[in-house]
Protein backbone atom coordinates (compact mmCIF):
# COMPACT_ATOMS: atom_id res chain seq x y z
CA UNK A 1 0.00 0.00 0.00
CA UNK A 2 3.07 2.28 0.19
CA UNK A 3 2.58 3.26 -3.47
CA UNK A 4 -0.67 5.07 -2.75
CA UNK A 5 1.18 7.82 -0.90
CA UNK A 6 3.69 8.29 -3.70
CA UNK A 7 2.80 10.11 -6.94
CA UNK A 8 0.85 7.71 -9.15
CA UNK A 9 2.57 6.65 -12.38
CA UNK A 10 0.82 7.22 -15.73
CA UNK A 11 -0.15 3.55 -16.05
CA UNK A 12 -2.24 3.88 -12.88
CA UNK A 13 -3.67 7.35 -13.60
CA UNK A 14 -4.62 6.80 -17.25
CA UNK A 15 -6.63 3.57 -16.83
CA UNK A 16 -8.36 5.05 -13.77
CA UNK A 17 -9.50 8.03 -15.86
CA UNK A 18 -10.98 5.56 -18.36
CA UNK A 19 -12.69 3.88 -15.39
CA UNK A 20 -14.23 7.23 -14.34
CA UNK A 21 -15.53 7.67 -17.89
CA UNK A 22 -17.00 4.16 -17.73
CA UNK A 23 -18.69 4.86 -14.38
CA UNK A 24 -20.34 7.99 -15.78
CA UNK A 25 -21.58 6.09 -18.85
CA UNK A 26 -22.78 3.27 -16.60
CA UNK A 27 -24.84 5.79 -14.64
CA UNK A 28 -26.31 7.16 -17.87
CA UNK A 29 -24.15 10.29 -18.25
CA UNK A 30 -21.14 11.50 -20.21
CA UNK A 31 -17.69 12.57 -19.09
CA UNK A 32 -17.13 16.30 -19.75
CA UNK A 33 -16.07 18.77 -17.09
CA UNK A 34 -16.23 22.13 -18.90
CA UNK A 35 -20.04 21.88 -19.22
CA UNK A 36 -20.04 22.80 -15.54
CA UNK A 37 -18.71 26.24 -16.41
CA UNK A 38 -21.76 26.84 -18.61
CA UNK A 39 -24.08 25.53 -15.88
CA UNK A 40 -22.46 27.82 -13.30
CA UNK A 41 -22.99 30.79 -15.66
CA UNK A 42 -26.66 29.83 -15.88
CA UNK A 43 -26.95 29.62 -12.09
CA UNK A 44 -25.44 33.11 -11.88
CA UNK A 45 -28.21 34.43 -14.12
CA UNK A 46 -26.47 34.48 -17.53
CA UNK A 47 -29.69 33.13 -19.10
CA UNK A 48 -31.06 36.68 -18.97
CA UNK A 49 -28.31 37.96 -21.29
CA UNK A 50 -28.27 35.24 -23.94
CA UNK A 51 -30.22 32.10 -24.82
CA UNK A 52 -27.13 29.87 -24.69
CA UNK A 53 -27.46 29.91 -20.91
CA UNK A 54 -31.25 29.74 -20.81
CA UNK A 55 -31.77 26.10 -19.80
CA UNK A 56 -32.84 24.21 -16.70
CA UNK A 57 -29.57 23.88 -14.80
CA UNK A 58 -31.05 21.17 -12.55
CA UNK A 59 -30.63 18.73 -15.48
CA UNK A 60 -26.87 19.26 -14.96
CA UNK A 61 -26.94 18.87 -11.20
CA UNK A 62 -25.24 15.47 -11.49
CA UNK A 63 -22.22 17.05 -13.22
CA UNK A 64 -21.94 19.80 -10.60
CA UNK A 65 -21.78 17.00 -8.04
CA UNK A 66 -18.93 15.41 -10.00
CA UNK A 67 -17.14 18.79 -9.89
CA UNK A 68 -17.88 19.20 -6.19
CA UNK A 69 -16.57 15.68 -5.63
CA UNK A 70 -13.41 16.64 -7.54
CA UNK A 71 -12.86 19.45 -5.00
CA UNK A 72 -13.20 16.96 -2.13
CA UNK A 73 -10.94 14.53 -4.00
CA UNK A 74 -8.23 17.18 -4.25
CA UNK A 75 -8.49 17.78 -0.51
CA UNK A 76 -8.28 14.04 0.23
CA UNK A 77 -5.37 13.67 -2.19
CA UNK A 78 -3.26 16.30 -0.50
CA UNK A 79 -4.24 15.65 3.13
CA UNK A 80 -4.67 11.90 3.38
CA UNK A 81 -2.97 10.29 0.41
CA UNK A 82 0.37 12.05 0.04
CA UNK A 83 3.58 12.07 2.03
CA UNK A 84 5.32 14.43 -0.38
CA UNK A 85 3.65 16.35 -3.18
CA UNK A 86 6.70 17.77 -4.97
CA UNK A 87 6.51 16.90 -8.67
CA UNK A 88 9.68 15.21 -9.94
CA UNK A 89 10.59 17.02 -13.14
CA UNK A 90 13.20 16.45 -15.83
CA UNK A 91 16.41 18.40 -14.95
CA UNK A 92 16.10 20.35 -18.23
CA UNK A 93 12.60 21.47 -17.24
CA UNK A 94 13.85 22.62 -13.84
CA UNK A 95 16.73 24.56 -15.41
CA UNK A 96 14.46 26.21 -17.90
CA UNK A 97 11.92 27.23 -15.27
CA UNK A 98 14.71 28.59 -13.06
CA UNK A 99 15.62 30.88 -15.95
CA UNK A 100 12.05 32.18 -15.84
CA UNK A 101 12.51 32.70 -12.09
CA UNK A 102 10.19 29.83 -11.24
CA UNK A 103 12.43 28.67 -8.41
CA UNK A 104 9.91 26.24 -6.95
CA UNK A 105 10.27 23.89 -9.95
CA UNK A 106 11.12 20.40 -8.70
CA UNK A 107 10.20 21.22 -5.10
CA UNK A 108 6.47 21.89 -5.27
CA UNK A 109 3.20 20.64 -6.78
CA UNK A 110 2.32 24.02 -8.28
CA UNK A 111 4.67 26.95 -8.97
CA UNK A 112 4.60 29.12 -5.84
CA UNK A 113 5.39 32.08 -8.09
CA UNK A 114 1.90 31.71 -9.60
CA UNK A 115 -0.24 29.77 -7.13
CA UNK A 116 0.56 31.09 -3.67
CA UNK A 117 -1.45 33.81 -1.93
CA UNK A 118 1.58 36.15 -1.89
CA UNK A 119 1.91 35.78 -5.68
CA UNK A 120 -1.58 37.25 -6.12
CA UNK A 121 -0.30 40.72 -5.19
CA UNK A 122 1.84 40.67 -8.35
CA UNK A 123 -0.16 42.21 -11.25
CA UNK A 124 1.71 40.07 -13.79
CA UNK A 125 0.54 36.92 -12.00
CA UNK A 126 -3.04 38.18 -11.95
CA UNK A 127 -2.86 38.80 -15.70
CA UNK A 128 -1.41 35.32 -16.29
CA UNK A 129 -4.10 33.56 -14.24
CA UNK A 130 -7.02 35.61 -15.54
CA UNK A 131 -6.02 35.46 -19.21
CA UNK A 132 -5.31 31.72 -18.91
CA UNK A 133 -8.69 31.13 -17.28
CA UNK A 134 -10.54 33.28 -19.81
CA UNK A 135 -9.03 31.41 -22.77
CA UNK A 136 -9.75 28.01 -21.20
CA UNK A 137 -13.39 28.94 -20.59
CA UNK A 138 -13.96 30.62 -23.94
CA UNK A 139 -12.04 27.99 -25.94
CA UNK A 140 -13.64 25.00 -24.23
CA UNK A 141 -17.16 26.20 -25.07
CA UNK A 142 -16.20 27.27 -28.58
CA UNK A 143 -14.65 23.84 -29.21
CA UNK A 144 -17.62 22.16 -27.50
CA UNK A 145 -15.51 20.43 -24.88
CA UNK A 146 -12.20 20.30 -23.07
CA UNK A 147 -9.62 17.64 -22.31
CA UNK A 148 -12.21 15.31 -20.76
CA UNK A 149 -14.93 15.87 -23.38
CA UNK A 150 -12.70 15.66 -26.46
CA UNK A 151 -9.30 14.12 -25.63
CA UNK A 152 -10.83 11.36 -23.49
CA UNK A 153 -14.56 10.92 -24.27
CA UNK A 154 -14.54 12.07 -27.90
CA UNK A 155 -11.40 10.25 -29.02
CA UNK A 156 -12.48 7.09 -27.15
CA UNK A 157 -15.65 7.25 -29.23
CA UNK A 158 -13.49 7.65 -32.37
CA UNK A 159 -14.92 11.08 -33.16
CA UNK A 160 -12.85 12.71 -35.90
CA UNK A 161 -13.89 16.19 -34.76
CA UNK A 162 -12.44 15.52 -31.32
CA UNK A 163 -9.13 14.87 -33.04
CA UNK A 164 -9.41 18.34 -34.64
CA UNK A 165 -10.08 19.80 -31.19
CA UNK A 166 -7.10 17.98 -29.66
CA UNK A 167 -4.89 19.16 -32.53
CA UNK A 168 -6.11 22.67 -31.69
CA UNK A 169 -5.29 22.11 -27.99
CA UNK A 170 -1.72 21.29 -28.97
CA UNK A 171 -1.34 24.10 -31.52
CA UNK A 172 -2.39 26.56 -28.80
CA UNK A 173 -0.49 24.87 -25.99
CA UNK A 174 2.76 24.59 -27.94
CA UNK A 175 2.53 28.19 -29.19
CA UNK A 176 1.98 29.40 -25.63
CA UNK A 177 4.66 27.21 -24.11
CA UNK A 178 7.41 27.84 -26.66
CA UNK A 179 6.79 31.38 -27.89
CA UNK A 180 4.50 33.37 -25.59
CA UNK A 181 5.06 32.10 -22.05
CA UNK A 182 8.48 33.81 -21.63
CA UNK A 183 6.71 37.19 -21.94
CA UNK A 184 4.55 36.41 -18.92
CA UNK A 185 7.48 35.97 -16.51
Amino acid sequence: MEWIFKPWPWYIGGPLIAFVMFLLLFFGKNFGMSSNLRTLCTICGAGKSTRFFDFDWKTQQWNLLVAFGAIIGGWIGVNWLSDSIAVQLHPDTINQLHQFNIKSAGEAYMPEELFSLQALSNPKVLITLSLGGFLVGFGARYAGGCTSGHAISGLSNLQLVSLYAVIGFFIGGLAMNHFLLPYFF
Binding site: N30, A46, G77, Y109, F138, A143, T147, I152, I171, M176
Partner: protein
Protein backbone atom coordinates in the same frame (compact mmCIF):
# COMPACT_ATOMS: atom_id res chain seq x y z
CA UNK B 1 -29.73 8.85 -3.53
CA UNK B 2 -28.77 8.60 -7.22
CA UNK B 3 -26.96 11.90 -6.87
CA UNK B 4 -24.59 10.39 -4.31
CA UNK B 5 -23.10 8.15 -7.01
CA UNK B 6 -22.00 11.25 -8.89
CA UNK B 7 -20.48 12.79 -5.80
CA UNK B 8 -18.41 9.63 -5.25
CA UNK B 9 -17.36 9.45 -8.91
CA UNK B 10 -16.24 13.08 -8.58
CA UNK B 11 -14.25 12.32 -5.42
CA UNK B 12 -12.52 9.44 -7.21
CA UNK B 13 -11.84 11.69 -10.21
CA UNK B 14 -10.40 14.43 -7.98
CA UNK B 15 -8.09 11.99 -6.22
CA UNK B 16 -6.91 10.61 -9.59
CA UNK B 17 -6.27 14.11 -10.99
CA UNK B 18 -4.28 15.09 -7.90
CA UNK B 19 -2.31 11.87 -7.40
CA UNK B 20 -1.46 11.34 -11.08
CA UNK B 21 -0.18 14.96 -11.10
CA UNK B 22 -2.38 15.75 -14.11
CA UNK B 23 -3.51 18.77 -12.05
CA UNK B 24 0.03 20.09 -11.72
CA UNK B 25 0.98 23.18 -13.76
CA UNK B 26 4.50 21.75 -13.97
CA UNK B 27 3.29 18.56 -15.65
CA UNK B 28 1.42 20.51 -18.33
CA UNK B 29 4.47 22.71 -18.90
CA UNK B 30 6.68 19.63 -19.22
CA UNK B 31 4.23 17.95 -21.57
CA UNK B 32 4.42 20.87 -24.03
CA UNK B 33 8.22 20.80 -23.69
CA UNK B 34 8.24 17.07 -24.62
CA UNK B 35 10.53 16.43 -21.64
CA UNK B 36 8.43 13.76 -20.01
CA UNK B 37 6.30 10.87 -21.19
CA UNK B 38 4.07 11.14 -18.12
CA UNK B 39 1.11 13.14 -19.51
CA UNK B 40 1.23 11.32 -22.86
CA UNK B 41 1.19 8.04 -20.94
CA UNK B 42 -1.86 9.16 -18.94
CA UNK B 43 -3.85 10.33 -21.97
CA UNK B 44 -2.66 7.42 -24.13
CA UNK B 45 -3.50 4.69 -21.62
CA UNK B 46 -6.84 6.34 -20.79
CA UNK B 47 -7.60 6.26 -24.51
CA UNK B 48 -6.47 2.66 -24.93
CA UNK B 49 -8.97 1.52 -22.33
CA UNK B 50 -11.51 4.18 -23.31
CA UNK B 51 -11.74 2.94 -26.90
CA UNK B 52 -12.18 -0.67 -25.71
CA UNK B 53 -14.83 0.33 -23.13
CA UNK B 54 -16.89 2.29 -25.67
CA UNK B 55 -16.63 -0.41 -28.34
CA UNK B 56 -17.81 -3.04 -25.84
CA UNK B 57 -20.69 -0.82 -24.67
CA UNK B 58 -21.81 -0.17 -28.26
CA UNK B 59 -21.41 -3.70 -29.63
CA UNK B 60 -23.07 -5.42 -26.67
CA UNK B 61 -25.67 -2.62 -26.34
CA UNK B 62 -25.01 -2.55 -22.62
CA UNK B 63 -27.57 -1.08 -20.27
CA UNK B 64 -26.92 1.56 -17.64
CA UNK B 65 -27.39 1.02 -13.91
CA UNK B 66 -30.95 2.32 -14.35
CA UNK B 67 -31.85 -0.12 -17.13
CA UNK B 68 -31.68 2.20 -20.15
CA UNK B 69 -29.42 1.44 -23.12
CA UNK B 70 -26.27 3.54 -22.78
CA UNK B 71 -26.33 6.43 -25.26
CA UNK B 72 -23.06 7.91 -26.46
CA UNK B 73 -23.86 11.00 -28.55
CA UNK B 74 -21.83 11.83 -31.67
CA UNK B 75 -20.25 15.27 -31.80
CA UNK B 76 -21.55 17.91 -34.18
CA UNK B 77 -19.70 17.91 -37.55
CA UNK B 78 -17.47 20.91 -38.23
CA UNK B 79 -13.82 21.76 -38.59
CA UNK B 80 -13.41 25.46 -37.85
CA UNK B 81 -14.98 25.54 -34.38
CA UNK B 82 -12.84 22.64 -33.21
CA UNK B 83 -9.56 23.97 -34.57
CA UNK B 84 -10.21 27.61 -33.55
CA UNK B 85 -11.84 26.85 -30.21
CA UNK B 86 -9.28 24.15 -29.52
CA UNK B 87 -6.39 26.51 -30.24
CA UNK B 88 -7.78 29.18 -27.89
CA UNK B 89 -8.31 26.52 -25.23
CA UNK B 90 -4.74 25.30 -25.77
CA UNK B 91 -3.33 28.82 -25.31
CA UNK B 92 -5.12 29.03 -21.96
CA UNK B 93 -4.13 25.49 -20.98
CA UNK B 94 -0.47 26.27 -21.68
CA UNK B 95 -0.68 29.50 -19.67
CA UNK B 96 -2.78 28.63 -16.61
CA UNK B 97 -1.67 24.99 -16.77
CA UNK B 98 -5.09 23.74 -15.73
CA UNK B 99 -8.04 22.40 -17.66
CA UNK B 100 -11.60 22.46 -16.30
CA UNK B 101 -11.44 19.14 -14.38
CA UNK B 102 -8.23 19.78 -12.42
CA UNK B 103 -9.36 23.35 -11.69
CA UNK B 104 -11.85 21.96 -9.21
CA UNK B 105 -9.31 19.53 -7.75
CA UNK B 106 -6.90 22.39 -7.13
CA UNK B 107 -9.44 24.29 -5.01
CA UNK B 108 -9.64 21.29 -2.68
CA UNK B 109 -5.87 20.88 -2.69
CA UNK B 110 -5.66 24.41 -1.30
CA UNK B 111 -4.19 26.40 -4.19
CA UNK B 112 -6.41 29.44 -3.66
CA UNK B 113 -5.25 31.47 -6.73
CA UNK B 114 -6.97 28.85 -8.92
CA UNK B 115 -10.18 30.68 -7.97
CA UNK B 116 -8.98 33.57 -10.16
CA UNK B 117 -8.54 31.12 -13.04
CA UNK B 118 -12.01 29.65 -12.48
CA UNK B 119 -13.64 33.07 -12.19
CA UNK B 120 -12.18 34.12 -15.52
CA UNK B 121 -13.01 30.76 -17.08
CA UNK B 122 -16.64 31.55 -16.19
CA UNK B 123 -16.28 35.00 -17.75
CA UNK B 124 -14.77 33.38 -20.86
CA UNK B 125 -17.65 30.91 -21.08
CA UNK B 126 -20.15 33.75 -20.70
CA UNK B 127 -18.45 35.91 -23.36
CA UNK B 128 -18.53 32.92 -25.72
CA UNK B 129 -22.27 32.64 -25.12
CA UNK B 130 -22.70 36.33 -25.94
CA UNK B 131 -20.75 36.22 -29.19
CA UNK B 132 -21.29 32.65 -30.38
CA UNK B 133 -23.57 33.72 -33.24
CA UNK B 134 -20.86 35.96 -34.65
CA UNK B 135 -18.12 33.30 -34.58
CA UNK B 136 -17.38 30.82 -37.39
CA UNK B 137 -18.56 27.36 -36.35
Amino acid sequence: MRQLYFLFIGILFGIIMFKSEAASWFRIYEMFQFKSFHMYGIIGSALFFGVIIIQVIKRLKLKSAFGETIQIPNKEKSVSRYILGGTLFGLGWGLAGACPGPMFTLIGAGFIPILVVIFFALIGTWVYGLFMNKLPH
